[in-house]
Subunit: 669 residues, 3 copies
């Protein structure tokens, strides 16, 4: 891995309205950019016709980049197929729940189609051959934002059937586990397995979604294996994972098993897009960063993020810098903007780049150049920042699937909130409290290095995980878990004994009733809750608690019933949140618990965000990030150096962050 | 018919995650349940492969039920087809307005498909053979919630064409009646009849909907004929009709002609699901009950209702009892919950049963057990309750279709309200006033037993009905009818003389203009209306009234124009509501009219609901139902017995209903 | 052209529920109607089977019309195909972005289908043969509201490919111009051109839309050529153009290039439907009228407008008259209602006509009769009203397409407003100020006859137009242009130099940043803006203005940046509105500019609308239209005659307009 923070941009020579590469590279180096990211979506450029190859542009870019001292990340061009390939195999376009895709968009084909694989392998090998000799190529990106594109093709469903046969052996075993008898869906012959797209069975449908996610894992691993025949040992392998998308990077990705898929990589990568201007909070940078850091439990690349980005994200003065350093503060090894220039045709013309359509050295370019300078100067101190978080939050694809099939809404109604909303409810509350956390996958079994393990809406949990959680508490760990957790097994069969399954002793509560809160508030005589703390989405009626009751419901019929409890079990404690409630109330609950548990929290609070890590040189690096238009002040906790201004700072010295400002303290540990 | 109120639950052995039937039946009988309902959706269990049958579970359940003294209602399993049948005939899945259904859900096939009929008949006959010897089987349910599933298959459209040829003889007759010349839709050859799905002609499209409804009638009759070869004379035949669904049972079912279809039954049946908790009003229990009672003008079975039901319907303490007795008060012969236990897989896992997923004797089970005890003790007094309502409300499928094609909205805009909203506007107002009513079909011609006949939005009315209504008024009857009534014939051809067609003399008004009310209020010098009584959806400008003007519009342009009128015609009176307005205003109008007409109304008003009937022993049974969280008081109108507490009550004695409480007075008539 | 104002109605004998033509014609002439419009949508009447013709009804109507002295406009019946034709060619139904249309609705076929053309030509010729001898036929309407019906058929796409080959020659030229390399969409073989429906490329998709519009032009021209073989020289040729539809005629039609298509006509025609009752403002009559007047720079026919129209448009007393004269005031040669009677079957039964369903002489008929009388009496004075507007507003189909692909919203989000909203923002503000305007197409190059040229959101502008605009200013013209103008070329390739392309010198401003305004207001020290004048949809950050800054933004980050500027360039002035803001603010800006520029504005303001023109006799005709429920007063600017009352009026005499009233002054110029 390079010892320089990566400061890059995507650069598609193919997209330019005229040739200005030399000028672009000159402007890049002038602004401190050191890397470009190329090739990922340009299959039709390299192979304009079936078997006809043309790498003229590739060599031109690689040579010029080398000449300008720019590093290059080469992406395999497999996520957007050329028109001739779609013409050759009309069934290569993904046949989804809503029918066959049309040609045009990226990410609309069937990765299980043999024709796709044949042609993808050929273009990958041809491209890698061409790239071989170039020293400027520092790493490779396998495909881009890979997802299964909801393929429900015959190829895919045949693989799924094979998976089920291997998993269950007999149709009876399948029927029993998935409860297929319901509405006459059971089968007695594997050939009677229906098209997955009509199913009303969450176990069957959910298993297909898990299978779809496994296609991503298999596909990236397949690309990695090809790449290994070409790659130099010092060239990294990454992938640009994306997040659940709500016009910005919102939450845990439901369409890939990123933790599994990351095994094909040497370093994790992702893209992070987030609201800006008045709506810039840093929450997405922090959440997505933690997710990416978790993938390989190490630093990661932000392979795409916004310069000007989507309409309405034009950074206020200072915001572009704040964003860049917030990424580093979360553990990024650097950032790469999408895109260098703003595109002049096609769908993303208004997803603007470092440069506007006029290629001028505008305000955004100029602020970017200050970042480039700082990255150059401070790479040695800021790279490889190691996080030492005491809190872990668990994510779970199976639980996410479970909540999609069984949301917190009436059957047939659109839910107000989903898995990622509840995950963000927890994560964003921690973020605002400056309680940094790691994100763990639900395959994790050893939590001993953490003080606190939070398990939000862990709906689908296998017995081994439940036992690991129980043992963690018994051995002194603290857990916080929520409503709709430990309710079903990984195939979404609801456990048929007392809920929460396997943890009633540990948690000291159980329940068999839950409902939708209407005019319900949370009350507590133990915790100082904000006034009128509303219970919002789901409430379980906890019964016969052996646990300490922290909060109860306030309601004519359900009043006094426990809502939040804490149980001492073995050497640890287990907290249960039986409902979703106002974030301010959650903050009060967490603050109380963290305080009692001795989890260190800074005095500061959002919008003054504090993030820490250990530098390569063993120093404590602390980022102070002001996510507001008001000036923020803080006192240095000890003697050290403010790196951006290169000023020494004495203990207790008051430092002032301007609006959207950032400071970085380097101190001894 | 049994002399015990049915207290049952659906019980699907096939759906259990483990074998616990003996324990379930023990828990049922302990709680006073006397009936289970089985078999209806489990075709794939009985016939796991084409022609391979396995009734092991059926016999196990029937034997155990018999041993435990439980009665059994056996449903024919035809409303959910097995996967192998869908594989055998790919076109068996319903081809609808929105395309071919996928396999998975229930109720998604084409009932006119010959292959469906062949296999349905075979499984029905095989099941009935197996069931033959069991004494515990008290009745049969034909299919379940049968609807045409919007079949537009070639089979169905061929039948429709034959229906049209029979009906109209020539294409010219069809063109003329339906106005097919419009936009060049007329045909000169029956083979040019287009696919119904694209039509813009309400007469053509509406007739197809009527044809679709007739499929239901024919199908149930066909099943009944098969059943007659197997049934014992004392075994009843019912069907589980459902209502227009808005996440709960909302209104008159548009997809079946239930009054016609009920001819295949010995007793009507239905399912009633309704909001609960804070939203429990009893209005659905009352409306749907009246609808079900009307089908065969007699008592009916509530074959499905909720225990815990949909998310957010967890009954407050007392509500489950209130609901049960409210069903009896409307004329139900008993109720059966859906489902015994909460299901552990598939789509309805959160439509919870008497038991939660943990099978424990939870709070809901415990309240259900008190109902079971009361039903056992009081069956002799509460069964066969005969209603003697003085008010009748007419429903009309053709009018409902008419309002769907021509709603109270701008052409091209989504209407705010529809047929069922206006029907419920009338029915719910009567309900809140404790004015009990019968529901009549528009095929009814003799209304002489009623004091008042209400005809809401009777858009499509045939001449014979109009004449019957006119004669009823002439002979002393009172009618109340509304805007958008008697406007078109049953084929939705608008009558081309003065509106309301055929009743201008009887009503003493006519109109040719109507519009959408914006900032219009209702005014009256005759009736004490609530302040600012808004005209909401539709307003007709009534002209030259011979009738008494009860209300006028208040508006800068339309002010003073009559809105509500009353005409004396022959020996009767005819009231016309020319617009839809606030329900409180409607209540004022109806109260005034009922008072003048001497229709008896109790002093009480919602939330204290009063329902009456005559018991088998000739006593007057009066239910007092408190649909609120506040205590309600009332005075006993005469000496009698309160049946639940088994206490005698003196005349004028004050009785107190706790929140969500119920009392039942038995008195002499 | 007739020297009588046309006062007509559509009359479809075929749609009558009984024969009452004689009575209808008697009622028409009694009410002053002089024209009927027939035949346009009744193909199945004339040709009930393939090649079988029956014109009985046609001759009956033409003879009777002649006898009653009614003129007839004959429409070719090609916009609604008979069922047999759809059966003959299943692929004749339009294959659109959302799949193949079903038979039933009008306007759902593929105009590029050879079978359609063959049969359309045959029925046109046969109809025109039949019509030949009738003197009462004053003109023809080619088809009706012709649009491409989103045809994406193989026929259409083949033509499109030929168009591209002709336009671009090589695939490389196409790739470059359209930027097809984006997401691997470039092709190297014309046969690899993908189905247009999946494209994510605005240049490719937008060009297809332009091609679709050209189908309309070609089709009407093709019909005109056929017609020329039959037409008498004094018979006019028109077409009924419609507008972008939002349940009423809202804006510039995106699916036809009406200015081009009008070359096939001798007189423009259109239909104008608008809200009525409380929502009657006259804005649509004015905007659509200006659009229609612009098509051939002359008077036009309103071939359809509402009598009672859609539900909720029942005219208040006086409104029908006001509407009729407002149409004349905009330059209409007369109006024709749709439809004579209200229809008794099919989809438009509630789009009511002059008569209600009962055919009685109701209130609407009676008010219509007063219009008929006035038209008869005043035709000589009111016909051929010539407009002499000093302001022109440019419309542009290519820009409209551009704004649809790149709206003022986040990528992926639904925009709040579109091209027509911004066009109406300008036009309606002018309307309220009584600033009459012409509408020009973007093919116009000579603006010298206008004082002011307004170019709203002229997103896609070719170099020649830009140069013409620049020259116009240089030579003394005044322009007002807005945000999102001159940004891309006609193929939607964004110009890659400083924006606004080619006009930075002329406008004296440039920008490379824009964003979504959130809590931004407009401030000015030059113009008296209303308080809190909100910037609503889009804001450009104007830089280094050489121009005078009229307004700036008020915002914490963007405060002080220029928002509205005025530049003196050559002998003219160029005003730039860098954002969309409250209409009241726009009015303040325009009033200030118009005043300074000496553009005459009346003192009056909406709801008192004033419209002028020069009569055939060279007099000034001034309409005073009161679009409110309050009385309005004004003073006559000079001596003259009020034509409706036939009263002479002295200078400065106060005249009173009753609610929804109208007066027409004839004065010397």
């Amino acid at each position: 891995m390079s010892e320089q923070l990566i400061y890059g941009t995507a650069y598609y020579y193919e997209y330019l309205p005229m040739d200005r590469m030399e000028e672009d590279f000159r402007m890049m180096t002038k602004a401190g950019f050191n890397t470009i990211r190329i090739a990922e979506s340009t299959w039709s450029t390299w192979e304009p016709q079936d078997g006809v190859f043309d790498f003229t542009y590739l060599h031109r870019v690689l040579k010029a980049a080398g000449n300008h001292g720019l590093s290059v990340i080469v992406g395999t061009p497999t996520y957007a197929i050329p028109s001739w390939l779609a013409k050759k195999y009309p069934d290569i376009l993904s046949d989804t729940h809503s029918g066959r895709c049309r040609y045009g968009a990226r990410q609309n084909f069937d990765m299980t189609h043999p024709g796709y694989r044949f042609h993808a392998e050929r273009i990958i090998r041809r491209l890698l051959e061409e790239v071989k000799g170039y020293d400027c190529v520092i790493g490779f990106q396998l495909d881009n934002e890979t997802k299964p594109y909801d393929t429900c093709s015959e190829y895919a469903q045949k693989l799924f059937k094979e998976h089920l046969i291997e998993q269950y052996g007999t149709t009876d075993a399948l029927n029993d586990k998935m409860g297929l008898a319901y509405w006459s869906n059971s089968i007695a012959d594997w050939d009677d397995l229906p098209d997955v797209r009509g199913t009303i069975n969450a176990s069957f449908g959910g298993e297909y979604e898990a299978f779809q996610r496994s296609i991503v894992t298999e596909f990236l691993s397949w690309q990695r294996n090809i790449l290994e025949e070409y790659r130099q040992p010092d060239q990294f392998v990454t992938h640009n994972f994306d997040f659940e998308w709500r016009l910005y990077s919102y939450g845990f990705q439901p369409e890939a098993e990123q933790f599994e898929a990351s095994k094909a990589l040497t370093i994790a990568g992702c893209d992070i897009y987030h609201p800006s201007e008045h709506a810039l909070t840093g929450a997405e940078i922090s959440f997505c960063g933690a997710n990416a850091y978790g993938l390989k439990k190490s630093n990661y690349l932000v392979l795409e993020t916004e310069a000007q980005g989507n309409f309405g994200w034009l950074p206020y003065p200072g915001q572009l810098r704040l964003q860049a350093f917030a990424q580093l503060a979360s553990g990024a090894e650097g950032i790469s903007y999408w895109h260098w220039h703003s595109i002049h045709n096609a769908v993303e013309s208004y997803w603007k780049g470092v440069l506007s359509h006029d290629f001028s050295e505008g305000a955004v370019y100029q602020e970017a150049a200050t970042i480039g300078k700082d990255f150059q100067r401070l790479s040695g101190k800021l790279i490889h920042l190691k996080k030492k978080n005491r809190i872990a939050i668990m994510v779970s694809s199976r639980s996410q699937t479970g909540l999609r099939w069984f949301p917190t809404a009436q059957q047939g109604a659109k839910p107000d909130h989903d898995y990622n909303d509840y995950l963000r409810w927890i994560c964003d509350t921690c973020y605002r409290m400056n309680a940094e956390y790691d994100i763990l996958n639900d395959t994790e079994r050893d939590f001993s290095k953490y003080d606190v393990l939070i398990l939000p809406v862990l709906y689908a949990a296998e017995e081994e995980l439940i036992e690991a959680v129980r043992r963690y508490v018994e051995n002194g760990g603290k857990i916080i878990t929520t409503f709709k957790s430990f309710f079903a097994d990984p195939v979404l069969k609801i456990y048929h004994d007392t809920q929460p399954h396997g943890l009633t002793k540990c948690l000291g509560v159980h329940y068999d009733r839950f409902t939708r809160p209407v005019d319900v508030e949370l009350k507590s005589s133990v915790i100082s809750l904000p006034e009128h703390c509303a219970v919002t989405d789901w409430m379980e009626l906890l019964e016969d608690p052996d646990a300490e009751v922290l909060c109860t419901y306030d309601h004519p019929a359900w009043g006094g019933i426990p809502a939040v409890t804490r149980n001492t079990y073995g050497n640890g404690q287990a907290v249960y949140l039986g409902c979703c409630f106002d974030a301010a109330g959650l903050e009060a609950v967490l603050a109380c618990l963290f305080r009692e548990w001795g989890v260190f929290l800074p005095d500061s609070h959002y919008p003054l965000i504090i993030k820490k890590g250990i530098s390569r040189e063993g120093k404590l690096i602390t980022y102070y990030l002001n996510f507001s238009r008001e000036e923020q002040k803080f006192r240095s906790p000890c003697e050290g150096t403010e790196l951006l201004q290169e000023e020494s700072v004495s203990r207790d010295q008051e430092l002032v962050l301007p609006p959207w400002g950032v400071k970085i303290l380097e101190t001894d540990i």
